[in-house]
């Protein structure tokens, strides 16, 4: 209680004592460990020590909607080198056996050692070697200390459909991802790179296990520690059950094979993807083992871009298929009614420009205008509805924004508004002339085939926009339950009368004698649809068709684009008709087994399937 106590000799003495006590305690402990119990610890260090190794989980299997296995796991042999036991003069011999450059081999060993912070951890130097190489290595194994092999698993694509863009592929993890994910991955691990292999990576992958093994002072394995009681088995990756019908997928692929383009089929009642084709495609097994530089270059340099998912990542003008958006806006907003008519003289003059129609249609109302695809009707209608109201309805139907389908490769597309034109050209520097062409889906507008299929599904089900999903259920290996992947839906609030008029136009487009979509007809089933032509400044126009069937209770909605096929009715419509027929009449598939529980779509760090409400 008195300030004179500062720094007194007595306090100095006590602090000194405290320092000596700390050092003394540590000294005594050091003495006990290193001299008194030396024998015990030396023995432990000498004979048995515990080391932890990680064990890889089996990647989840993938099934189609009918429970058919479509992606399997098979054994793959990987050669490993443990640097502490490996003699460097063997590097040439091993490189020859593995058909590798000695410097490449050395580099892989070095990188692996740095990554593991240890010379005692086996480094994967060559993955997925063939049986011939494996047996020749096995013959020489006794001369090659430190060389061993691991049995790993690799993806086996059962086929016959390829579904390459939808499934995606796995590849050895790259440096950037390794840095991002840290300790959860090791050099040489596989990771999903695209498609659902990437978006469901964290579920498919499972969790690594831990195995404790006893090793001697030289690092040689003596056996399992404590009879494996401490081991943590790897948790298997979750299985995915897709909404895709693999038989239908194969059929659609075979129809699309001669063309460049894309085809998407959806279940209009829940937004499930029944088939998704991007053509040309590639064989996903190219990536399942080791991809040679040659194979990769061949795919990557191909001018037709087979690696690119045209179904979700290419934007085309929608052409006449977009007329239903404008009709919906006009009818719902009360701009016109079903009796409103115009007379088509074969085109429309606006200012000093003449916008052509395909024919001289004479007097047409909205249903007839959709049926006959009268451009004049829609040139005039968009001026009445206005750009921004039209834009609002395009957005409602899912255009100009992502659909949030459960793969990451997706573009939002473009639907212009006055704000967009103000930004691009400056206020007052664009005219209504820009707008007229949008009425028939041409001009500065870009949509993906998936968006178009979603649009067809929304028209089919009477106005409910679903978040499309490829994966329907996940089999949770931890709880052994089947969980549904959650997704959103939005009722667009368009009146049934309006929808009925638009659908009637689409029915007539296919079913009436003069309809442009007549090639999409299915015997005995009423089909609704619409053809379109996407103007292509670089060559022949692209052909569109969107549609759904059966007309009254639709079970399938489709969209198809065939590049450079000219007019939509001839190439795209028959493909859609045949696929719908196959689905409805051919190998008819039962609905997938009902889920035991409903779980929300699982979020994960890799930014897997995102849960987004499409319209709010």
């Amino acid at each position: 209680m008195n300030a004179e106590e500062f720094g007194t000799p007595r306090r100095y003495f006590i602090l000194r004592l405290a320092v000596l006590a700390i050092v003394g305690v540590l000294f005594v402990r050091l003495y006990m460990l290193q001299l008194f119990s030396y024998e015990e610890y030396a023995g432990e260090s000498e004979k048995n020590s515990v080391r932890m190794i990680t064990t890889d989980p089996v990647r989840g299997y993938i099934f189609d909607r009918n429970g058919k296995l479509i992606v399997d796991d098979g054994p793959s042999f990987t050669i490993t080198v443990t640097q502490s036991e490996f003699h460097n003069y063997d590097i040439g011999g091993l490189a020859t056996l593995l058909d590798l450059d000695p410097s490449t081999l050395q580099d892989r060993i070095n990188r692996g050692v740095v990554n593991a912070h240890s010379r005692f951890t086996p480094v994967k130097v060559k993955r997925d070697i063939d049986f011939g190489t494996l047996s020749s290595i096995e013959e020489h194994l006794f001369e090659l200390p430190g060389v061993s092999y691991d049995v790993e698993s690799k993806r086996i694509y059962v086929g016959p459909a390829r579904a390459a863009h939808l499934l995606g592929y796995c590849k050895e993890i790259g440096d950037a991802q390794l840095a991002k994910f840290g300790e959860r991955y090791k050099l040489g691990d596989l990771i999903g790179f695209s498609g659902i292999e990437a978006s469901y990576e964290q579920l498919l992958r499972g969790e690594k296990g831990k195995e404790f093994i006893s090793v001697n002072a030289k690092g040689q394995v003596l056996g399992s520690f404590d009879n494996g009681k401490e081991d943590v088995p790897p948790r298997e990756g979750f299985d995915l059950i897709l909404s895709v019908d693999f038989d239908l997928q194969e059929f659609a692929e075979s129809l699309m094979k001669p063309y460049k383009g894309a085809f998407v089929a959806l279940d209009p009642n829940d937004g499930g993807v029944l088939a998704m084709v991007s053509s040309p495609d590639y064989d996903p097994s190219v990536f399942s083992g080791v991809t040679t530089a040659d194979e990769w270059d061949k795919l990557n340099d191909n001018p037709d871009k087979p690696l690119f998912n045209r179904a979700t990542m290419t934007l085309y003008p929608p052409g006449s298929t977009f007329k239903m958006v404008l009709a919906a806006a006009a009818l719902q907003e009360g701009v016109i009614d079903k009796n409103w008519r115009i007379t088509c003289p074969g085109g429309f003059r606006y200012g000093n420009r003449f916008f052509k129609c395909t024919h001289v249609h004479g007097s047409v109302n909205v249903v007839e205008a959709i049926e006959k695809s009268c451009n004049t009707f829609f040139y005039q209608l968009i001026l009445k509805v206005g750009l921004d109201r039209w834009h609002e309805y395009a957005q409602k139907f899912g255009f100009g924004r992502k659909t949030y389908v459960d793969i990451d490769e997706e573009v939002a597309g473009l639907v212009p508004s006055s704000a967009y034109y103000d930004r691009e050209y400056g206020k007052g520097h664009w005219t209504q002339g820009f707008v007229v062409n949008l009425g028939i889906g041409q001009g500065e507008i870009g949509v993906s085939p998936l968006q178009m299929a979603l649009y067809a599904a929304t028209l089919a089900n009477g106005g409910v926009l679903y978040q499309p999903r490829i994966v329907h259920y996940v089999r949770n290996k931890a709880t052994n339950r089947i969980e549904e992947v959650a997704h959103n839906s939005t009722d667009l609030g368009i009146s049934p009368n309006v929808m009925a008029l638009i659908r009637e136009g689409m029915r007539r487009c296919v079913e009436s004698p003069g309809g442009t979509g007549s090639l999409a007809r299915i015997p005995g089933i009423v089909v609704g649809g619409k053809t379109g032509t996407a103007e292509n400044p670089h060559g022949e126009d692209h052909a569109w068709f969107v549609g759904f069937a059966p007309f009254n209770h639709p079970k399938i909605a489709v969209a198809c684009i065939v590049e450079n096929a000219g007019y939509g009715g001839t190439k795209a419509a028959p493909i859609c008709g045949q696929v719908m027929e196959r689905y409805l009449l051919g190998k008819k598939s039962p609905t997938p087994e009902p889920p035991a529980v409903t779980a929300s779509r699982m979020q994960n760090e890799s930014g897997g399937p995102s849960q987004v409400t499409p319209n709010n």
Binding site: N2, E4, G7, I14, Y38, V50, R119, T121, F212
Partner: protein
């Protein structure tokens, strides 16, 4: 010239500190001896050069300015600690790093020194008396503020260092035994509560006795004891809210054999490494435990295993001797210094080093729970090394100015 050096240049602090840095570099080299990965060794070497500059600046900085600047430096480091909670990186589930380019910086390392300087500066003011309750509360507050910010990161180890540094400083500055007891007893009772109800009651009884014995005002003793009981009882609730890894660590501390493959695994391997070193050690770069990488990230908190395994009891004793020499010499500076600021700050700095020493080496040898704080001068890590070397410079500075009031 020679006598001038003897008078003003504290070569004892410098040499003992640098010897420890060299032992650290040697051990880090061994722990990371792998293809290409001696990078850690070179980086630590580079940081020790930066540390040497920090040491020189700290040693020759005018002491009056240092005392004046201690408040702004303290405020700045508190600002950094607050900012890190918002902006920092998360390393090992603790938010304690700032990234600058490719380098990381830990403000809590800097805050240790600035808090010691700020408290020493405050307590050395002629108008401030430790027996004044208001001044005492301000003094405690200077340490509690950074302590709470660090606990939020959450970095339990560094928070313990702050607490363990506060008591010797107050003690040296002349705080009464009652005040010290009133700060310490709640912690003891809280620790007792972690072990169980019986331990809690025993600790509470001892605490009550100590408070009664050291107090002159029995009412104050009763109030302090009431607060103590409240803290002890709430510990169970706090324990429930600790990070799971911290709960595991406490549980492992109470019974290390319960979990030989989890948190206890490191301690088991660490003890085996040190114990198997024997009298002379297994020889440099020949420690089997070290070279086989039984202990993850051995070059940071478990660096003493390398020294213990490869240089044995002899090497361990050299390290302990150097620490003892440095700490006792630092205390000597505090004892002979007529400059109250330098004297109190010197006690603070050696308390920081001593706490790190007992917690880190105690952990490596299985005496303490696994609390991640580095061994000063030896562990790999730039912020810590540079700060520790600056602390050597400060001790040298206080030595040089020991005769100035």
């Amino acid at each position: 010239m020679n006598s001038y050096i003897k008078e003003y240049f504290d070569y004892k602090t410098l040499l003992s500190g640098l010897a420890l840095v060299c032992i650290g570099l040697t051990s880090i080299y061994s722990a990371t001896l792998d293809v290409n990965s001696a990078a850690n060794f070179y980086r630590q070497g580079l940081w020790s050069m930066v540390g040497l500059i920090a040491l020189m600046v700290a040693a020759f900085f005018p002491i009056k300015s240092l005392q004046r600047l201690s408040l702004p430096m303290y405020v700045a480091s508190i600002g950094l600690l607050a900012a890190i909670l918002v902006l920092g990186h998360t390393v090992n589930s603790s938010k304690s790093w700032f990234g600058i380019g490719g380098m990381g910086m830990q403000p809590s390392e800097i805050a240790k020194v600035t808090s010691v300087l700020a408290l020493a500066s405050y307590l050395s003011k002629p108008t401030v008396s430790i027996s004044n309750v208001k001044h005492l509360i301000i003094s405690i507050g200077i340490f509690v503020l950074p302590l709470l910010l660090i606990l939020r990161q959450p970095d339990l180890g560094t928070a313990i260092v702050f607490f363990a540094t506060l008591l010797p400083i107050l003690y040296w500055a002349g705080a009464s035994y009652f005040v010290l007891t009133a700060i310490l007893v709640p912690i003891l009772v809280a620790a007792g509560a972690l072990f169980g109800i019986a331990q809690f009651l025993i600790a509470a009884a001892i605490g009550a006795g100590l408070l009664y014995a050291t107090s002159k005002n029995k009412f104050a003793a009763a109030v302090a004891f009431g607060i103590t009981l409240a803290i002890g009882l709430s510990v169970q609730i706090v324990f429930e809210h600790l990070e799971p890894y911290q709960q595991r660590r406490i549980a492992t501390f109470l019974n290390p054999n319960a979990d030989p493959t989890g948190a206890g695994y490191n301690v088991l391997q660490s003890k085996t490494a040190i114990g198997s070193g024997g009298f002379w050690g297994k020889g440099y770069l020949h420690g089997t435990q070290t070279q086989l990488k039984y202990i993850p990230e051995q070059w940071t908190d478990f660096i003493f295993c390398v020294t213990g395994e490869e240089f044995g009891f002899v090497g361990g004793c050299v390290v302990l001797f150097l620490f003892a020499f440095l700490l006792l010499h630092g205390l000597h500076i505090a004892g002979i210094s007529k400059n109250k600021f330098g004297s109190i700050a010197a006690v603070g700095l050696i308390s920081v080093i001593a706490t790190h020493l007992i917690v880190n080496m105690g952990m490596d040898m299985g005496l303490m729970p696994v609390i991640g704080i580095p061994l000063p001068f030896l562990s790999y890590g730039g912020s810590a090394l540079i700060t520790n070397m600056a602390m050597l410079g400060l001790l040298m500075n206080f030595f040089a100015h020991r005769k100035e009031y």
